[in-house]
């Protein structure tokens, strides 16, 4: 399990890119107060989803507007075709922890873990 940061340091509506792991992950605190973690790299082209636009439980890539569901990692809108991995999040004593998925990540062309 990876300790990310205190929940209080990630305001609702914000995202955090964590690049201590490879491939990097993105942790989101939605406006509804839920916390999700997914792979940070868009599967279409190398871009940070943490820099994208958070709308409910959906993240839109800042480059070409692919959308991913934070709960499932599935593609909601192209041009991305493959989903991103999701990682289990737990909040313990006010801190965010992530358990990394053991699946193979879907990375865009030219990017390796």
């Amino acid at each position: 399990m990876l300790r990310i940061c205190p929940l209080a340091e990630l305001p609702a509506g914000e995202a955090l890119r964590v690049d201590e792991v490879s491939p990097p992950i993105a942790v989101f605190h939605t406006d509804d107060g839920e916390v999700f973690a997914i792979d940070d790299t868009c599967t279409h082209q190398d871009a940070s989803l943490a820099d994208g636009w958070l709308d409910g439980c959906e993240i839109e890539c800042p480059l070409h507007a692919s959308k991913f569901d934070l709960r499932t990692g599935e593609v909601d809108a192209p041009p991305a075709k493959q989903g991103v991995r999701t990682h289990a999040v737990t909040i313990t004593d006010g801190d965010i922890y992530v358990t990394l998925s053991d699946q193979t990540p879907n990375l865009p062309p030219g990017v390796t873990a």
């Binding site: 082209q45 190398d46 636009w53 800042p62 480059l63 030219g110």
Partner: protein, 373 residues
Amino acid sequence: MTTTELPESLISTLPGHFYTDPQIFALEQAKIFEDMWFCAIRASDVPTPGTFRTVQVGTESIIISRSRRGEVRAFFNICRHRGIRLCMEDAGDVGRAFQCPYHAWTYDLDGKLIAAPNLTRMPDVDRDEYGLKKVHLREWLGYVWVSLADEPPSFEATVLQEVVDRLGELTNLDHYEVQKLAIGRRIVYDVKANWKLIVENFMECYHCATIHPELTEVLPEFADGLAAQFFVNHGAAFGDDIKGFTIDGSEGLDEIPSIDPDQERKYYAITIKPQVFVNMVPDHIIFHRMYPMAADRTIVECDWLYLPSVVEQGKDVTKSVELFDRVNRQDFDACERCQPAMSSRVYRDGGVLVPSEHHIGLFHEWLQSKIQA
């Protein structure tokens, strides 16, 4: 200029080539429009985050937009990557970011680089350093003024001083609360004339009785050929039988309540060099901004500003707008007829100014000192 002796009544204008020579125009772009404060847009032209306008300031295209927090921002309209023009339209709404149509470099509404293909693999690329190049700006009178200079001149010593020079003190303009007024009408004129012909025309009234019969009807003293701008804080009085500043002298719109009693039934005018004219009457403001596009072409955007209640209630401003719209067309027609003559051999050394136009000589001195600097 030649040293031909002129009769005492006359002083010389600029030589004809000042109005036609692309090199002179290039100097004006660099040393005047790109170096001074330039009135770009009405702040209400970009009402919400992401709405934008692009304007030509000298040789540069500038984006004026509004940030997520609602603050006005101005940027050079150029992607920091390979230089492509970001916004091609005159106005629009980018939503939440400016995205380059070439390689998708993406900038937030504060200009910061927020995304680009492979950007995460270039951690040494600073996102502020490679953000959109910012332009200095000031909001005043409800307009967004920009300066492309690295170190802009003092707004107070330039823009505001022009108002003081003309009206004696700033409060005489403050009374109109121009920043609170709303646009009742905007008309854009594409004038095939050098911008200086338009400034010179606006500064004098020797032509008024000849080409502005309707205006002279409303402001009879204009028949003497002395413009309101010949004096300090001189308002031209409405004619006795004139009810308002309208095409037929009929009643105008609701008077701006904060004006001074002295300002009722009077017309005032200010030239704010290099490209703004402000006309003040009791019920509205007529605000001209020029965009010099070439030595022989100037776009003039003119706003008629009324009390917000007048605009919200949809009151008929037709007669009010028609008076100065007609004045504008009469003036711009005259300027367009002058333009071809500027390259005539007869005008090589320029023309002459009569005494009621001699204050235009100060404009010429100012211009020459600017472009020679």
